[in-house]
């Protein structure tokens, strides 16, 4: 394998759970220990899909002022933005906070679901490529902090109540960080063998 940031070559190591391999030239983290366990990742993907459902179905925040009240889910916030000049912003927010996270959850579930059965998922390469390209555009955590800032901003003048969506967003942030941030690179090991990949001994790439 080659370090993506400086092109230095290494033989891909087998790491134990607590080990981290760092590039000796540039200091970048090359691999984290513990081959991503297909069972764990699959279970987390299922959990994440449920939490994702809650995060998107329930309002993130509801505000009330003198008898009137108003609530917004993530989707409603995006739709409210989608007017005139602001359509590009709405698309950007919609893609990074709704579409990409869903894509990550579904594809990870797909890949690891098949890996559990000891098979290579149909469209494995396409799914992994999509995951790789999608990662920088996943911004659930930004939306979460944005919601917290919005709460503080509005508290001065209105009666603000955090909704189920907000709590779910927190859960989703943690799950996606764990799922997509940590383990996608390691999943490539499932591609190297056509037969059942053993979860504990990732296939090694020759130089």
């Amino acid at each position: 394998m080659a370090c993506e940031h400086c092109d230095t070559l290494y033989e891909e190591p087998t790491l134990s759970r607590v080990e981290v391999a760092t590039c000796r030239r540039c200091g970048r983290v090359l691999l984290r220990g513990g081959a991503p366990d297909a069972n764990v990742t699959f279970a987390l993907a299922i959990t994440a899909s449920i939490v994702y459902g809650f995060a998107n179905a329930y309002p993130v925040i509801s505000v009330g002022a003198q008898g009137q009240s108003n609530a917004a889910t993530v989707w409603q916030a995006v739709v409210a933005m989608a007017h005139g000049y602001f359509i590009p912003v709405a698309i950007f927010v919609g893609v990074s906070m709704i579409v990409v996270p869903l894509l990550q959850i579904v594809l990870l579930g797909w890949v690891t679901g098949y890996a559990r059965l000891g098979r290579r998922a149909p469209g494995f390469t396409a799914a992994m490529l999509t995951l790789e390209y999608a990662r920088p555009w996943s911004m659930v955590e930004v939306f979460l902090i944005g919601a917290l800032v919005a709460i503080v901003k509005l508290t001065a003048n209105m009666d603000v109540r955090p909704g189920v969506g907000l709590v779910s967003l927190l859960g989703l942030t943690l799950l996606i960080t764990f799922l997509a941030g940590r383990s996608t690179r390691g999943l490539w090991t499932y591609a190297s063998t056509e037969t059942a990949p053993s979860l504990d001994t990732p296939a090694r790439d020759r130089q």
């Binding site: 394998m1 920088p136 509005l154 490539w188």
Partner: protein, 235 residues
């Protein structure tokens, strides 16, 4: 490669120092191409590595392989300059219009920070200041520095520059914070008489600036940081 236990600090540092004398070869020195999508190094025929647009595909993920990302520097410069241009209206124009009980006001990004600060919410003010003002400025400076030094094939502070690149990759998208806040606030505050909040054009430019700096960072090939070293070594 240094293998360390997760709390890597003194131990790792020591191993660094011990080993930094003889570093392993780089893929480009051995006629190999490293895939920048999945990390696999594969062989390439020598003439292919010289060309900008290689026809080679990664045997594992089938991505096009390039010795370096094509036109990395010019693309990154273009995105960076475009980002700088839109960053001006992003800060000059208001990002949001709010009216409460008949009193309307427009606020800019900086204005929002000042408002929070003056109302005593120094913590929130700090978060927004870091995400919306400090992060973009740091990104402009760091990317500019990386592009400039890589263009001159500098060997100065290679490891520190590599660390800077990782930093901007990590923090880059947090600037979207203000866009998320404006989106939510405008969706929530829509009471006809009591108050309304509407987005203003500044937020479009601000979102564009963040998008462009992210694209600039992605276009830059960090392997270029190390190419000056190789040149010096061979000369």
């Amino acid at each position: 490669m240094t293998v360390a236990h997760t709390p890597h600090s003194a131990e790792l540092k020591q191993q660094y120092d011990e080993l930094s004398e003889e570093l392993p070869k780089r893929a480009c020195d051995l006629g190999l191409l490293g895939c920048h999508v999945c990390g696999l190094a594969s062989e390439a025929r020598a003439p292919e590595t010289q060309r900008e647009h290689s026809t080679h595909r990664c045997p594992r993920c089938h991505s096009a392989l390039h010795a370096r990302k094509p036109n990395s520097l010019s693309r990154a410069w273009a995105f960076l300059l475009a980002a700088l241009v839109v960053y001006i209206p992003a800060n000059v124009l208001p990002v949001m219009y709010t009216s409460l009980l008949g009193r309307g006001s427009e606020s800019t990004i900086v204005g929002g920070v000042v408002d929070f600060w003056e109302s005593g919410a120094w913590d929130i003010a700090t978060i927004i200041f870091v995400a919306s003002i400090a992060v973009p400025i740091v990104k402009f400076l760091v990317l500019g520095l990386l592009l400039f030094t890589s263009q001159r094939r500098s060997t100065w502070a290679n490891r520190q520059r590599a660390r800077l690149y990782r930093l901007i990759e990590l923090i880059g998208y947090w600037s979207m914070l203000d866009v998320a806040v404006v989106t939510l606030v405008c969706a929530l505050v829509r009471f006809r008489l009591l108050g309304t909040a509407e987005p203003r054009l500044g937020i479009v430019f601000f979102g564009a600036a963040v998008l462009l700096t992210m694209l600039a960072a992605m276009s830059f090939d960090p392997r270029l940081i190390w190419d000056g070293e190789a040149n010096d070594g061979n000369a």
